[in-house]
């Protein structure tokens, strides 16, 4: 096996080429294909590096991989305030079709961190994922909305960030650097994970959830990660999320289920 993955291919796909993606061709003929669904907002920016590392690592294992940005995020078309939950789910379906077309693989594994995990779960039927691998996924939309609101409230009061006092109006209708439309907040607030029709593996770096949380509804196999990721720490808002342990866990899982 080569020590280096093949060069990645930037691409544009979907209606009018609105969606941006990076395709990692497999080293050799692809044995299977993995769609990496990114998180939303600042968690997407923080996770960019580890998604690239994951794409490279999986390509070396003989997997074809597609990373992509939803409409209204990253390099895809659309303004940030046009980000829409329903559109994100349909973009994941479009990206799955693009990955099948490029790789020639029919059997896809869907991977997602945080809200990327929620989107992979929600799009699983239409995208035709054979299996899901979710990393610290958001399973309760209303709790996540409450967390984001609280962090946004703390952000504009942060005297270390701002040398002059700011107001709630300056920070209104935004979450941690990104404008949000009223629809997204409503959509997320109503979303809660339900059972999936395909096998789900959960990679969990967070403290155990109290009983009654929707993780139970998933019927997932759970693998605990030792390295806890500080997703909700405002002081680490602009720190990249890195976890060699996560990459090893995903590669092991894919290798084991091949």
């Amino acid at each position: 096996m080569n020590a280096r993955p093949s060069p990645t291919q930037p691409c544009q796909f979907g209606t009018g080429g609105d969606l941006f993606g990076i395709y990692h061709a497999a080293t050799g003929h692809p044995k299977r294909a993995v769609l990496l669904c990114p998180p939303l907002g600042q968690e997407m920016v923080r996770s960019h590096r580890i998604y690239r590392q994951l794409g490279d690592a999986l390509a070396l294992q003989g997997c074809a991989v597609l990373r992509f940005d939803y409409y209204g995020s990253g390099d895809s078309a659309g303004a940030s305030n046009q980000l829409d939950w329903t559109r994100c789910v349909s973009d994941a379906v479009t990206a799955a079709a693009e990955l099948r077309r490029r790789s020639g693989c029919d059997r896809l594994l869907g991977f997602g961190a945080r809200l990327g995990g929620a989107i992979a779960l929600e799009s699983a039927d239409d995208a035709g994922f054979a299996e899901l691998l979710l990393w610290d996924p958001i399973l309760d939309g209303s709790a996540h909305v409450a967390r984001l609101d609280a962090m946004q409230d703390a952000l504009w009061r942060d005297g270390d960030r701002f040398s002059q006092p700011r107001t709630a109006a300056d920070a209104a209708n935004q979450w941690l650097g990104f404008p949000i439309g009223p629809a997204l907040k409503r959509q997320l607030g109503h979303w809660r994970a339900g059972p999936a029709k395909v096998p789900v593996a959960l990679l969990d770096s967070q403290p155990p959830a109290p009983p009654g949380q929707p993780a139970g509804a998933l019927d997932a196999t759970i693998r605990r990660l030792q390295t806890a990721i500080a997703w909700d720490d405002l002081e680490r808002l602009e720190h990249a999320v890195l976890s060699p342990e996560l990459i090893r866990a995903v590669v092991d899982h894919v290798r084991g289920s091949a």
Binding site: D18, D75, F162, Q164, R166
Partner: protein, 278 residues
């Protein structure tokens, strides 16, 4: 239909970037905007700042390229035995070649935040096709005036004295006055000399500072205190956006930044649509 195009380019085909084109075809010789990475954040920029900015400038008639320097974001390594500065200059040269190929640009304006401003400075020193640069929280040296403005109010504040004494009782932290936000500064004399060289070559330079670096830059007057006669050069402009943080996390601050940049560009590098009478 999007007017952006994803590209792999560069001398080793190792760079990834997004070309943005104005709605109307750009004529040969149009000035383009090249946006460099802010620290290790990939080309979309902090909170998607680079995406929003380049799209707005495209709408004003400026072609653009936001891209990842070697080994940052989605770009690979060029595997050349070169210093960091040589690497940056070569990457920027590759970016300008791409912008010329796709949009006919023969001259560019470099834009960068923090370490991106430092890299823009490095490239602007030697690259003849650079017509201007916009430095966001670029080089800012503490001056006597800075210290007076910074420390005098603190001397009269009892709570700050208590915190100061607490810190004195704690183990000392490493201090390197030449490091700002993890970026190593060259000596002021070198920066002055290099900026003077750029202005002599006819470059237009815009220095925009944010309130997020108030521990290093705290008044519009500090620019003159730092750079002396260079500050009065007609090619140099400066602006302090005191309410903004270092990475423009609030939408209202980003919009103010975009307005500021757009106004400066319109004054110094008007597009045909803007320069012709209504």
């Amino acid at each position: 239909m999007t007017t952006e195009r994803a590209c792999r380019f560069g001398r080793a085909q190792h760079l990834i970037g997004i070309i943005g084109l104005p709605p109307a075809p750009a004529e040969e010789g149009r000035v383009g905007i090249v946006v460099l990475n802010a620290g290790m954040v990939h080309r979309v920029g902090p909170f998607r700042l680079h995406v929003e900015l380049t799209r707005r400038l495209n709408a004003c008639g400026y072609p653009s390229l936001r891209f990842d320097l070697s080994s940052i974001g989605d770009s690979g390594a060029s595997n050349e035995p070169r210093s960091h500065e040589e690497q940056v200059r070569s990457d920027v040269a590759d970016a300008i070649n791409l912008l010329r190929q796709h949009a006919g640009c023969t001259r560019v304006i470099l834009l960068g935040l923090c370490s991106g401003a430092q890299n823009a400075h490095v490239a602007a020193c030697t690259e003849s096709r650079v017509a201007g640069a916009i430095f966001l929280d670029g080089y800012a040296f503490r001056t006597f005036g800075f210290r007076i403005r910074h420390y005098l109010p603190r001397l009269l504040n009892a709570a700050r004295w208590r915190r100061f004494l607490d810190r004195r009782m704690s183990p000392p932290e490493d201090d390197d006055s030449n490091i700002r936000f993890g970026v190593h500064y060259p000596p002021l004399s070198q920066v002055r000399r290099e900026l003077a060289g750029m202005l002599e070559r006819g470059l237009k330079l815009y220095f925009i500072y944010s309130g997020g670096i108030s521990g290093h830059y705290n008044h519009p007057r500090q620019f003159r205190e730092c750079y002396g006669r260079l500050a009065a050069h007609p090619g140099a402009s400066t602006r302090l956006l005191k309410q903004a943080d270092h990475t423009y996390v609030l939408e209202t601050d980003r919009q103010l930044l975009f307005d500021t940049i757009e106004t400066w560009l319109a004054g110094n590098f008007p597009t045909p649509a803007r320069s012709s009478p209504p």
